[in-house]
Protein backbone atom coordinates (compact mmCIF):
# COMPACT_ATOMS: atom_id res chain seq x y z
CA UNK A 1 0.00 0.00 0.00
CA UNK A 2 1.27 3.44 -0.89
CA UNK A 3 0.32 6.36 1.34
CA UNK A 4 0.67 9.68 -0.41
CA UNK A 5 3.39 11.82 1.12
CA UNK A 6 0.87 14.66 1.23
CA UNK A 7 -0.98 12.95 4.09
CA UNK A 8 2.20 12.53 6.06
CA UNK A 9 3.05 16.18 5.64
CA UNK A 10 -0.46 17.05 6.77
CA UNK A 11 -0.09 14.93 9.87
CA UNK A 12 3.06 16.83 10.70
CA UNK A 13 0.81 19.88 10.60
CA UNK A 14 -1.65 18.23 12.98
CA UNK A 15 -4.30 17.64 10.37
CA UNK A 16 -7.08 15.48 11.83
CA UNK A 17 -8.48 14.52 8.45
CA UNK A 18 -5.12 13.28 7.26
CA UNK A 19 -4.86 11.15 10.36
CA UNK A 20 -8.34 9.75 9.77
CA UNK A 21 -7.40 8.91 6.21
CA UNK A 22 -4.27 7.08 7.27
CA UNK A 23 -6.04 5.33 10.12
CA UNK A 24 -8.87 4.18 7.87
CA UNK A 25 -6.50 2.82 5.27
CA UNK A 26 -4.07 1.14 7.61
CA UNK A 27 -6.11 0.02 10.61
CA UNK A 28 -6.74 -3.48 9.33
CA UNK A 29 -3.07 -4.18 8.69
CA UNK A 30 -1.98 -2.59 11.96
CA UNK A 31 -4.56 -4.54 13.90
CA UNK A 32 -3.51 -7.73 12.12
CA UNK A 33 0.11 -7.25 13.09
CA UNK A 34 -0.67 -6.35 16.66
CA UNK A 35 -3.07 -9.22 17.12
CA UNK A 36 -0.61 -11.66 15.59
CA UNK A 37 1.83 -10.76 18.34
CA UNK A 38 -0.62 -10.29 21.23
CA UNK A 39 -2.97 -13.19 20.44
CA UNK A 40 -5.67 -11.35 22.33
CA UNK A 41 -8.28 -9.05 20.85
CA UNK A 42 -8.87 -6.72 23.76
CA UNK A 43 -5.14 -6.26 24.33
CA UNK A 44 -4.64 -5.78 20.59
CA UNK A 45 -7.16 -2.98 20.55
CA UNK A 46 -5.28 -1.14 23.27
CA UNK A 47 -1.93 -1.65 21.64
CA UNK A 48 -3.33 -0.55 18.32
CA UNK A 49 -4.25 2.84 19.74
CA UNK A 50 -0.77 3.18 21.19
CA UNK A 51 0.75 2.32 17.82
CA UNK A 52 -0.97 5.27 16.18
CA UNK A 53 0.17 7.51 18.99
CA UNK A 54 3.70 6.24 18.46
CA UNK A 55 3.32 6.99 14.80
CA UNK A 56 2.28 10.57 15.53
CA UNK A 57 5.06 10.90 18.06
CA UNK A 58 7.69 9.73 15.62
CA UNK A 59 6.35 11.09 12.37
CA UNK A 60 9.40 13.33 12.05
CA UNK A 61 11.54 10.20 12.14
CA UNK A 62 9.87 8.90 9.03
CA UNK A 63 12.08 9.31 5.99
CA UNK A 64 10.42 10.70 2.93
CA UNK A 65 10.24 8.42 -0.12
CA UNK A 66 10.37 5.30 1.97
CA UNK A 67 7.37 3.05 2.40
CA UNK A 68 5.20 4.62 5.08
CA UNK A 69 2.94 1.58 5.30
CA UNK A 70 5.86 -0.73 6.00
CA UNK A 71 7.27 1.76 8.48
CA UNK A 72 3.96 1.92 10.34
CA UNK A 73 3.65 -1.86 10.44
CA UNK A 74 7.16 -2.13 11.80
CA UNK A 75 6.21 0.26 14.58
CA UNK A 76 3.12 -1.85 15.22
CA UNK A 77 5.05 -5.08 15.35
CA UNK A 78 7.78 -3.76 17.54
CA UNK A 79 5.46 -1.99 19.92
CA UNK A 80 3.34 -5.12 20.26
CA UNK A 81 6.44 -7.22 20.93
CA UNK A 82 7.61 -4.63 23.42
CA UNK A 83 4.31 -4.73 25.26
CA UNK A 84 4.37 -8.50 25.16
CA UNK A 85 7.75 -8.57 26.81
CA UNK A 86 6.73 -5.97 29.36
CA UNK A 87 3.69 -7.79 30.52
CA UNK A 88 3.52 -11.37 29.34
CA UNK A 89 0.97 -12.21 31.94
CA UNK A 90 -1.38 -9.57 30.66
CA UNK A 91 -1.07 -10.71 27.09
CA UNK A 92 -1.15 -14.38 27.84
CA UNK A 93 -4.72 -14.40 28.96
CA UNK A 94 -6.42 -17.71 28.78
CA UNK A 95 -7.38 -18.10 25.14
CA UNK A 96 -10.81 -19.20 26.23
CA UNK A 97 -11.32 -16.07 28.31
CA UNK A 98 -12.79 -13.83 25.68
CA UNK A 99 -16.39 -13.60 26.78
CA UNK A 100 -15.99 -9.85 27.05
CA UNK A 101 -14.86 -9.68 23.47
CA UNK A 102 -17.77 -11.75 22.25
CA UNK A 103 -20.25 -9.23 23.60
CA UNK A 104 -19.33 -6.76 20.90
CA UNK A 105 -18.20 -9.29 18.34
CA UNK A 106 -20.21 -10.53 15.40
CA UNK A 107 -18.44 -13.88 15.71
CA UNK A 108 -20.18 -16.80 17.30
CA UNK A 109 -18.56 -18.51 20.27
CA UNK A 110 -17.86 -21.67 18.31
CA UNK A 111 -16.12 -19.77 15.55
CA UNK A 112 -14.21 -17.72 18.06
CA UNK A 113 -13.14 -20.87 19.83
CA UNK A 114 -12.08 -22.48 16.58
CA UNK A 115 -10.20 -19.36 15.52
CA UNK A 116 -8.33 -19.10 18.81
CA UNK A 117 -7.43 -22.78 18.69
CA UNK A 118 -5.92 -22.24 15.28
CA UNK A 119 -4.11 -19.10 16.35
CA UNK A 120 -2.69 -20.94 19.29
CA UNK A 121 -0.97 -23.62 17.21
CA UNK A 122 0.95 -21.05 15.20
CA UNK A 123 4.10 -19.36 16.36
CA UNK A 124 4.47 -15.59 16.14
CA UNK A 125 6.07 -15.50 12.68
CA UNK A 126 3.47 -17.90 11.35
CA UNK A 127 0.65 -15.81 12.76
CA UNK A 128 2.09 -12.65 11.24
CA UNK A 129 2.56 -14.19 7.83
CA UNK A 130 -0.79 -15.96 7.71
CA UNK A 131 -2.81 -13.02 9.02
CA UNK A 132 -1.12 -10.50 6.74
CA UNK A 133 -1.63 -12.88 3.85
CA UNK A 134 -5.24 -13.89 4.36
CA UNK A 135 -6.65 -10.85 6.14
CA UNK A 136 -4.68 -7.99 4.60
CA UNK A 137 -4.19 -9.95 1.38
CA UNK A 138 -0.59 -8.82 1.06
CA UNK A 139 1.76 -10.53 -1.35
CA UNK A 140 4.52 -12.70 0.06
CA UNK A 141 6.99 -10.18 -1.26
CA UNK A 142 5.30 -7.37 0.66
CA UNK A 143 5.17 -9.43 3.83
CA UNK A 144 8.85 -10.24 3.43
CA UNK A 145 9.67 -6.55 3.40
CA UNK A 146 7.53 -5.78 6.43
CA UNK A 147 8.96 -8.65 8.45
CA UNK A 148 12.42 -8.09 7.03
CA UNK A 149 12.76 -11.71 6.07
CA UNK A 150 13.79 -13.32 2.78
CA UNK A 151 10.93 -14.00 0.40
CA UNK A 152 11.65 -17.73 0.42
CA UNK A 153 11.49 -17.79 4.20
CA UNK A 154 8.11 -16.08 4.21
CA UNK A 155 6.72 -18.49 1.64
CA UNK A 156 8.14 -21.34 3.66
CA UNK A 157 6.57 -20.03 6.86
CA UNK A 158 3.23 -19.60 5.11
CA UNK A 159 3.33 -23.12 3.73
CA UNK A 160 4.14 -24.63 7.09
CA UNK A 161 1.51 -22.55 8.85
CA UNK A 162 -1.19 -23.52 6.39
CA UNK A 163 -0.23 -27.15 6.79
CA UNK A 164 -0.67 -26.84 10.53
CA UNK A 165 -4.00 -25.10 10.12
CA UNK A 166 -5.21 -27.70 7.66
CA UNK A 167 -4.33 -30.45 10.06
CA UNK A 168 -5.99 -28.64 12.94
CA UNK A 169 -9.08 -27.85 10.93
CA UNK A 170 -9.29 -31.12 9.00
CA UNK A 171 -8.49 -29.50 5.69
CA UNK A 172 -9.96 -30.99 2.52
CA UNK A 173 -7.21 -31.38 -0.07
CA UNK A 174 -9.60 -31.10 -2.96
CA UNK A 175 -9.93 -27.44 -2.26
CA UNK A 176 -6.37 -26.59 -3.22
Amino acid sequence: MIINQMYIEKIKNKDEEAFEYIYTHTKRAVYSVVFAVAKNHSVAEDIMQEVYMKMIQSIHQYKENTNFFNWLLQIARHHAIDQYRKDKRKLNLDINDYSEVLISSQIGPDEEDQFMRMIDILDEDERLVVILKVVEELKHREIAKILEKPLGTVIWIYQNAMKKLKQEGGYDDEEE
Binding site: R28, F35, I56, S58, T66, Q106, P150, Q159
Partner: protein, 395 residues
Protein backbone atom coordinates in the same frame (compact mmCIF):
# COMPACT_ATOMS: atom_id res chain seq x y z
CA UNK B 1 -13.96 -31.23 7.19
CA UNK B 2 -12.68 -27.69 6.97
CA UNK B 3 -11.62 -26.28 3.63
CA UNK B 4 -8.84 -23.81 2.99
CA UNK B 5 -11.34 -21.17 1.94
CA UNK B 6 -13.07 -21.68 5.27
CA UNK B 7 -9.80 -21.14 7.12
CA UNK B 8 -9.27 -17.91 5.22
CA UNK B 9 -12.85 -16.85 5.85
CA UNK B 10 -12.57 -17.66 9.54
CA UNK B 11 -9.40 -15.63 9.95
CA UNK B 12 -10.72 -12.74 7.94
CA UNK B 13 -14.09 -12.51 9.63
CA UNK B 14 -12.63 -12.87 13.09
CA UNK B 15 -9.94 -10.24 12.69
CA UNK B 16 -12.19 -7.83 10.84
CA UNK B 17 -14.89 -8.17 13.47
CA UNK B 18 -12.50 -6.90 16.11
CA UNK B 19 -10.86 -4.01 14.34
CA UNK B 20 -11.84 -0.87 16.21
CA UNK B 21 -14.03 1.35 14.10
CA UNK B 22 -13.73 4.52 16.14
CA UNK B 23 -10.80 6.70 15.26
CA UNK B 24 -8.53 7.29 18.24
CA UNK B 25 -8.34 10.76 19.69
CA UNK B 26 -4.97 12.17 18.85
CA UNK B 27 -3.02 14.08 21.42
CA UNK B 28 -1.29 16.45 19.07
CA UNK B 29 0.91 17.71 21.84
CA UNK B 30 2.85 14.50 21.34
CA UNK B 31 3.88 15.84 17.97
CA UNK B 32 5.63 18.71 19.65
CA UNK B 33 7.97 16.29 21.36
CA UNK B 34 8.54 14.41 18.19
CA UNK B 35 12.26 14.97 18.20
CA UNK B 36 12.69 12.10 20.61
CA UNK B 37 14.17 9.02 19.13
CA UNK B 38 11.89 6.09 18.77
CA UNK B 39 14.10 3.21 19.68
CA UNK B 40 11.51 0.78 18.52
CA UNK B 41 11.96 1.79 14.93
CA UNK B 42 15.67 1.46 15.10
CA UNK B 43 15.40 -1.88 16.78
CA UNK B 44 13.08 -3.23 14.15
CA UNK B 45 15.61 -2.22 11.55
CA UNK B 46 18.33 -4.16 13.23
CA UNK B 47 17.38 -7.54 11.79
CA UNK B 48 17.45 -6.08 8.30
CA UNK B 49 20.94 -4.88 8.95
CA UNK B 50 21.93 -8.34 10.07
CA UNK B 51 20.28 -9.92 7.09
CA UNK B 52 21.96 -7.50 4.78
CA UNK B 53 25.25 -8.01 6.51
CA UNK B 54 24.95 -11.72 6.03
CA UNK B 55 24.17 -11.31 2.40
CA UNK B 56 27.13 -9.09 1.86
CA UNK B 57 29.29 -11.26 4.03
CA UNK B 58 28.29 -14.29 2.02
CA UNK B 59 29.50 -12.61 -1.09
CA UNK B 60 32.63 -11.48 0.70
CA UNK B 61 33.37 -15.04 1.59
CA UNK B 62 33.24 -15.96 -2.06
CA UNK B 63 35.50 -13.17 -3.10
CA UNK B 64 38.08 -13.95 -0.49
CA UNK B 65 37.94 -17.69 -0.95
CA UNK B 66 38.62 -17.16 -4.61
CA UNK B 67 41.41 -14.74 -4.01
CA UNK B 68 42.99 -17.07 -1.52
CA UNK B 69 42.64 -19.88 -3.97
CA UNK B 70 44.13 -17.85 -6.74
CA UNK B 71 46.95 -16.53 -4.69
CA UNK B 72 47.72 -19.58 -2.68
CA UNK B 73 46.89 -22.65 -4.66
CA UNK B 74 48.81 -22.00 -7.81
CA UNK B 75 51.46 -19.71 -6.60
CA UNK B 76 54.16 -20.88 -4.28
CA UNK B 77 55.39 -17.38 -3.65
CA UNK B 78 54.53 -15.63 -0.41
CA UNK B 79 51.47 -13.50 -0.81
CA UNK B 80 53.40 -10.35 -0.21
CA UNK B 81 55.31 -10.85 -3.46
CA UNK B 82 52.58 -12.42 -5.53
CA UNK B 83 52.77 -11.74 -9.23
CA UNK B 84 49.86 -10.64 -11.30
CA UNK B 85 47.73 -13.78 -11.45
CA UNK B 86 46.89 -13.13 -15.05
CA UNK B 87 50.43 -13.93 -16.11
CA UNK B 88 49.59 -17.57 -15.49
CA UNK B 89 46.98 -19.22 -17.72
CA UNK B 90 45.71 -21.62 -15.06
CA UNK B 91 45.69 -18.87 -12.55
CA UNK B 92 43.81 -16.61 -14.87
CA UNK B 93 41.03 -19.10 -15.45
CA UNK B 94 40.68 -19.80 -11.77
CA UNK B 95 40.61 -16.17 -10.82
CA UNK B 96 38.23 -15.36 -13.62
CA UNK B 97 35.73 -17.80 -12.26
CA UNK B 98 36.33 -16.75 -8.70
CA UNK B 99 36.16 -13.05 -9.37
CA UNK B 100 32.97 -13.34 -11.34
CA UNK B 101 31.38 -15.56 -8.71
CA UNK B 102 32.21 -13.34 -5.85
CA UNK B 103 31.65 -10.06 -7.59
CA UNK B 104 28.22 -10.99 -8.71
CA UNK B 105 27.22 -12.42 -5.38
CA UNK B 106 28.25 -9.17 -3.77
CA UNK B 107 26.32 -7.05 -6.20
CA UNK B 108 23.37 -9.34 -5.76
CA UNK B 109 23.18 -8.65 -2.07
CA UNK B 110 23.40 -4.89 -2.07
CA UNK B 111 19.99 -3.35 -1.38
CA UNK B 112 18.62 -1.53 -4.38
CA UNK B 113 15.43 0.20 -5.39
CA UNK B 114 12.92 -2.52 -5.86
CA UNK B 115 11.05 -2.95 -9.06
CA UNK B 116 7.47 -1.83 -8.82
CA UNK B 117 6.49 -4.80 -10.89
CA UNK B 118 5.42 -7.94 -9.15
CA UNK B 119 5.14 -11.44 -10.47
CA UNK B 120 3.75 -11.21 -13.96
CA UNK B 121 1.60 -14.26 -13.67
CA UNK B 122 1.93 -15.98 -10.39
CA UNK B 123 -0.40 -18.90 -10.84
CA UNK B 124 1.87 -21.69 -9.81
CA UNK B 125 1.65 -23.87 -6.72
CA UNK B 126 3.84 -22.78 -3.83
CA UNK B 127 6.24 -25.66 -4.33
CA UNK B 128 7.05 -24.28 -7.76
CA UNK B 129 7.51 -20.80 -6.32
CA UNK B 130 10.05 -22.17 -3.90
CA UNK B 131 11.81 -23.66 -6.88
CA UNK B 132 12.52 -20.10 -7.96
CA UNK B 133 12.93 -18.36 -4.64
CA UNK B 134 15.63 -20.80 -3.60
CA UNK B 135 17.91 -19.63 -6.37
CA UNK B 136 16.83 -15.99 -6.36
CA UNK B 137 19.69 -14.84 -4.12
CA UNK B 138 22.19 -16.58 -6.40
CA UNK B 139 20.95 -15.26 -9.73
CA UNK B 140 23.22 -12.25 -9.50
CA UNK B 141 26.24 -14.46 -9.04
CA UNK B 142 25.26 -16.87 -11.78
CA UNK B 143 24.47 -13.97 -14.08
CA UNK B 144 27.99 -12.68 -14.12
CA UNK B 145 29.79 -15.97 -13.80
CA UNK B 146 28.19 -17.24 -16.96
CA UNK B 147 27.37 -13.90 -18.55
CA UNK B 148 30.25 -12.08 -20.09
CA UNK B 149 32.65 -14.99 -19.78
CA UNK B 150 35.69 -12.86 -20.29
CA UNK B 151 35.76 -9.37 -18.89
CA UNK B 152 37.26 -10.22 -15.54
CA UNK B 153 40.26 -8.38 -14.26
CA UNK B 154 42.34 -9.02 -11.17
CA UNK B 155 44.94 -6.42 -10.38
CA UNK B 156 47.55 -6.69 -7.65
CA UNK B 157 48.39 -3.20 -6.49
CA UNK B 158 50.71 -1.69 -3.97
CA UNK B 159 48.78 -1.30 -0.77
CA UNK B 160 47.83 2.28 0.03
CA UNK B 161 46.65 1.31 3.49
CA UNK B 162 49.39 1.25 6.12
CA UNK B 163 47.61 -1.50 8.01
CA UNK B 164 47.78 -4.00 5.16
CA UNK B 165 50.65 -5.20 3.02
CA UNK B 166 48.61 -6.42 0.03
CA UNK B 167 45.89 -4.94 -2.08
CA UNK B 168 43.91 -6.61 -4.83
CA UNK B 169 41.31 -5.05 -7.07
CA UNK B 170 38.72 -7.29 -8.68
CA UNK B 171 36.70 -6.03 -11.59
CA UNK B 172 34.02 -7.89 -13.46
CA UNK B 173 30.88 -7.38 -15.51
CA UNK B 174 27.27 -8.33 -15.11
CA UNK B 175 24.91 -9.60 -17.78
CA UNK B 176 24.18 -6.07 -18.95
CA UNK B 177 27.85 -5.27 -19.27
CA UNK B 178 28.09 -3.03 -16.20
CA UNK B 179 31.40 -3.18 -14.40
CA UNK B 180 31.55 -4.21 -10.74
CA UNK B 181 34.67 -3.54 -8.66
CA UNK B 182 35.92 -4.82 -5.31
CA UNK B 183 38.94 -3.97 -3.19
CA UNK B 184 40.73 -6.37 -0.87
CA UNK B 185 43.38 -5.47 1.68
CA UNK B 186 45.14 -8.19 3.64
CA UNK B 187 48.20 -9.31 5.60
CA UNK B 188 49.85 -12.70 5.52
CA UNK B 189 49.74 -14.10 9.04
CA UNK B 190 51.60 -17.34 8.30
CA UNK B 191 53.12 -18.99 5.30
CA UNK B 192 54.83 -22.36 5.00
CA UNK B 193 56.07 -24.21 1.99
CA UNK B 194 57.34 -27.75 1.55
CA UNK B 195 58.16 -29.75 -1.56
CA UNK B 196 54.64 -30.13 -2.88
CA UNK B 197 52.60 -28.27 -0.39
CA UNK B 198 52.03 -24.77 0.73
CA UNK B 199 49.78 -23.42 3.39
CA UNK B 200 49.04 -19.94 4.51
CA UNK B 201 46.77 -17.81 6.57
CA UNK B 202 45.73 -14.29 5.74
CA UNK B 203 43.71 -11.65 7.49
CA UNK B 204 42.24 -8.51 6.08
CA UNK B 205 39.32 -6.44 5.03
CA UNK B 206 37.07 -6.49 2.06
CA UNK B 207 35.63 -3.28 0.64
CA UNK B 208 32.70 -2.94 -1.67
CA UNK B 209 31.30 0.54 -2.08
CA UNK B 210 30.72 1.70 1.49
CA UNK B 211 30.83 -1.71 3.14
CA UNK B 212 33.73 -3.28 4.97
CA UNK B 213 34.10 -6.70 6.56
CA UNK B 214 36.90 -8.40 8.47
CA UNK B 215 37.96 -11.84 7.37
CA UNK B 216 40.33 -14.68 8.09
CA UNK B 217 41.31 -17.09 5.36
CA UNK B 218 43.58 -20.08 5.29
CA UNK B 219 44.76 -22.79 2.96
CA UNK B 220 45.39 -26.21 4.46
CA UNK B 221 46.30 -29.66 3.26
CA UNK B 222 44.12 -32.39 4.69
CA UNK B 223 44.38 -35.99 3.54
CA UNK B 224 46.02 -34.87 0.30
CA UNK B 225 43.17 -32.47 -0.28
CA UNK B 226 43.77 -28.79 -0.58
CA UNK B 227 41.16 -26.94 1.36
CA UNK B 228 40.67 -23.25 1.48
CA UNK B 229 38.56 -21.97 4.31
CA UNK B 230 37.35 -18.47 4.64
CA UNK B 231 35.44 -17.17 7.61
CA UNK B 232 33.87 -13.78 8.06
CA UNK B 233 32.54 -12.70 11.39
CA UNK B 234 29.52 -10.52 11.89
CA UNK B 235 28.72 -10.21 15.56
CA UNK B 236 29.78 -12.77 18.10
CA UNK B 237 27.76 -15.76 16.96
CA UNK B 238 27.12 -14.89 13.34
CA UNK B 239 29.49 -15.90 10.60
CA UNK B 240 29.74 -17.18 7.08
CA UNK B 241 32.21 -19.89 6.23
CA UNK B 242 33.23 -21.00 2.79
CA UNK B 243 35.18 -24.16 2.13
CA UNK B 244 36.73 -24.61 -1.27
CA UNK B 245 37.96 -28.02 -2.38
CA UNK B 246 39.32 -29.55 -5.54
CA UNK B 247 38.13 -33.12 -5.80
CA UNK B 248 38.47 -35.30 -8.89
CA UNK B 249 39.39 -32.26 -10.93
CA UNK B 250 36.22 -30.51 -9.89
CA UNK B 251 36.16 -27.40 -7.79
CA UNK B 252 33.35 -27.07 -5.31
CA UNK B 253 32.38 -24.42 -2.85
CA UNK B 254 30.48 -25.34 0.28
CA UNK B 255 28.93 -22.38 2.02
CA UNK B 256 27.55 -22.35 5.52
CA UNK B 257 25.77 -19.35 6.97
CA UNK B 258 25.49 -19.32 10.73
CA UNK B 259 23.28 -16.90 12.58
CA UNK B 260 23.03 -16.96 16.37
CA UNK B 261 25.06 -20.17 16.35
CA UNK B 262 22.45 -21.83 14.15
CA UNK B 263 23.12 -22.91 10.59
CA UNK B 264 20.56 -21.12 8.47
CA UNK B 265 21.77 -22.01 5.00
CA UNK B 266 23.96 -24.58 3.31
CA UNK B 267 24.64 -24.90 -0.38
CA UNK B 268 27.22 -26.12 -2.87
CA UNK B 269 28.34 -24.62 -6.14
CA UNK B 270 30.41 -26.26 -8.86
CA UNK B 271 31.81 -24.43 -11.86
CA UNK B 272 32.55 -26.44 -14.99
CA UNK B 273 34.15 -25.19 -18.22
CA UNK B 274 33.41 -27.41 -21.21
CA UNK B 275 33.75 -26.74 -24.92
CA UNK B 276 34.05 -23.01 -24.44
CA UNK B 277 30.89 -23.06 -22.37
CA UNK B 278 30.74 -22.22 -18.73
CA UNK B 279 28.24 -24.11 -16.62
CA UNK B 280 27.38 -23.76 -12.99
CA UNK B 281 25.81 -26.50 -10.94
CA UNK B 282 24.04 -25.24 -7.87
CA UNK B 283 22.86 -27.63 -5.23
CA UNK B 284 21.13 -27.12 -1.92
CA UNK B 285 19.79 -29.45 0.71
CA UNK B 286 17.44 -28.26 3.41
CA UNK B 287 16.12 -31.12 5.49
CA UNK B 288 14.17 -33.33 3.12
CA UNK B 289 14.07 -30.63 0.48
CA UNK B 290 16.71 -30.38 -2.20
CA UNK B 291 17.31 -28.73 -5.49
CA UNK B 292 19.82 -29.16 -8.32
CA UNK B 293 20.10 -26.38 -10.88
CA UNK B 294 22.35 -26.33 -13.95
CA UNK B 295 22.99 -22.83 -15.27
CA UNK B 296 24.25 -21.90 -18.71
CA UNK B 297 24.74 -18.56 -20.43
CA UNK B 298 23.17 -18.10 -23.86
CA UNK B 299 22.43 -15.35 -26.32
CA UNK B 300 18.99 -15.53 -27.91
CA UNK B 301 17.99 -13.00 -30.55
CA UNK B 302 20.72 -10.72 -29.33
CA UNK B 303 19.56 -10.92 -25.72
CA UNK B 304 21.89 -12.27 -23.02
CA UNK B 305 20.10 -14.77 -20.85
CA UNK B 306 20.57 -17.63 -18.47
CA UNK B 307 19.21 -21.05 -19.28
CA UNK B 308 18.49 -23.29 -16.32
CA UNK B 309 17.65 -26.96 -16.07
CA UNK B 310 16.40 -27.94 -12.65
CA UNK B 311 15.27 -30.81 -10.48
CA UNK B 312 13.78 -30.17 -7.07
CA UNK B 313 12.01 -31.95 -4.28
CA UNK B 314 10.19 -29.49 -2.05
CA UNK B 315 7.61 -30.45 0.54
CA UNK B 316 7.56 -33.94 -0.94
CA UNK B 317 6.77 -32.65 -4.44
CA UNK B 318 9.29 -33.53 -7.11
CA UNK B 319 9.57 -31.14 -9.99
CA UNK B 320 11.83 -30.74 -12.97
CA UNK B 321 11.93 -28.44 -15.93
CA UNK B 322 13.72 -25.49 -17.40
CA UNK B 323 13.85 -21.76 -16.90
CA UNK B 324 14.98 -18.81 -18.92
CA UNK B 325 16.17 -15.71 -17.10
CA UNK B 326 16.34 -12.35 -18.82
CA UNK B 327 16.95 -8.88 -17.45
CA UNK B 328 14.10 -6.44 -17.79
CA UNK B 329 14.70 -2.70 -17.55
CA UNK B 330 11.92 -0.42 -16.38
CA UNK B 331 11.87 2.33 -19.02
CA UNK B 332 10.81 4.97 -16.50
CA UNK B 333 13.01 4.20 -13.52
CA UNK B 334 15.80 2.20 -15.17
CA UNK B 335 15.42 -0.26 -12.31
CA UNK B 336 16.28 -3.74 -13.51
CA UNK B 337 14.61 -6.97 -12.59
CA UNK B 338 14.84 -10.60 -13.57
CA UNK B 339 12.11 -11.89 -15.82
CA UNK B 340 11.99 -15.62 -15.35
CA UNK B 341 10.15 -17.89 -17.74
CA UNK B 342 9.55 -21.21 -16.04
CA UNK B 343 8.63 -24.33 -17.93
CA UNK B 344 8.00 -27.24 -15.57
CA UNK B 345 7.98 -30.63 -17.24
CA UNK B 346 4.53 -31.50 -15.97
CA UNK B 347 2.84 -28.14 -15.57
CA UNK B 348 1.97 -25.13 -17.62
CA UNK B 349 4.61 -22.56 -18.40
CA UNK B 350 4.52 -19.37 -16.36
CA UNK B 351 6.44 -16.17 -15.77
CA UNK B 352 7.89 -14.72 -12.61
CA UNK B 353 9.58 -11.44 -11.92
CA UNK B 354 12.28 -11.10 -9.32
CA UNK B 355 14.11 -8.10 -7.92
CA UNK B 356 17.64 -7.72 -9.18
CA UNK B 357 19.86 -6.43 -6.41
CA UNK B 358 22.36 -4.35 -8.27
CA UNK B 359 23.22 -0.82 -7.25
CA UNK B 360 21.77 1.71 -9.63
CA UNK B 361 25.05 3.59 -9.68
CA UNK B 362 26.96 0.74 -11.25
CA UNK B 363 27.68 2.94 -14.21
CA UNK B 364 29.65 5.16 -11.90
CA UNK B 365 31.79 2.30 -10.71
CA UNK B 366 35.34 3.18 -9.98
CA UNK B 367 37.87 2.34 -12.59
CA UNK B 368 40.52 0.07 -11.11
CA UNK B 369 43.08 1.73 -13.28
CA UNK B 370 42.15 5.17 -12.06
CA UNK B 371 43.59 5.84 -8.62
CA UNK B 372 41.40 8.90 -8.24
CA UNK B 373 38.36 6.69 -8.24
CA UNK B 374 39.53 4.61 -5.34
CA UNK B 375 37.88 4.95 -2.00
CA UNK B 376 39.98 5.53 1.03
CA UNK B 377 39.03 2.71 3.38
CA UNK B 378 39.82 4.88 6.33
CA UNK B 379 38.01 7.92 5.11
CA UNK B 380 34.65 8.17 6.82
CA UNK B 381 33.54 10.62 4.15
CA UNK B 382 33.38 7.73 1.75
CA UNK B 383 30.95 5.80 3.84
CA UNK B 384 27.26 5.91 3.21
CA UNK B 385 24.78 5.46 6.00
CA UNK B 386 23.69 1.81 5.88
CA UNK B 387 20.32 2.92 7.25
CA UNK B 388 19.81 4.95 4.13
CA UNK B 389 20.43 1.92 2.00
CA UNK B 390 17.96 -0.04 4.02
CA UNK B 391 15.44 2.67 3.50
CA UNK B 392 15.95 2.39 -0.21
CA UNK B 393 15.15 -1.24 0.07
CA UNK B 394 11.96 -0.36 1.84
CA UNK B 395 10.69 1.63 -1.09
Amino acid sequence: MMKKSEIVKLFKSNIEAHIPTSIPQVDWSMLASSQQNILEIKETRRPAKIIFSFKAVLATVFVMAMVIFGIGLFNNQPIAVVQNPYTNAIYKDTLSVSAVSTATLMSNYIPTPVSTNQALSFITPLASTETITTIEPYLGMIETVTGQNAGITTTNLESDNALFESKVLLSTFDLLGNRINYTLYFNTISYSESENESTFEIEGIFLYKSYQFDFVGRKEIEDDEEIITFKTQSGTSNYVESIYKVEDNESKYSIVIVENDQIISQSKIKIVDENDERKIDFEYVDGLNYGIYNFKYEVENGVNLLRIEYQTRISGIEESGSMKVEIKIDPLTNVTSYQIFVKPDNEEEYEYESDRHVDDDDEDEEDPEDPEDEEDPEDPEDEEDPEDLEDEEDN
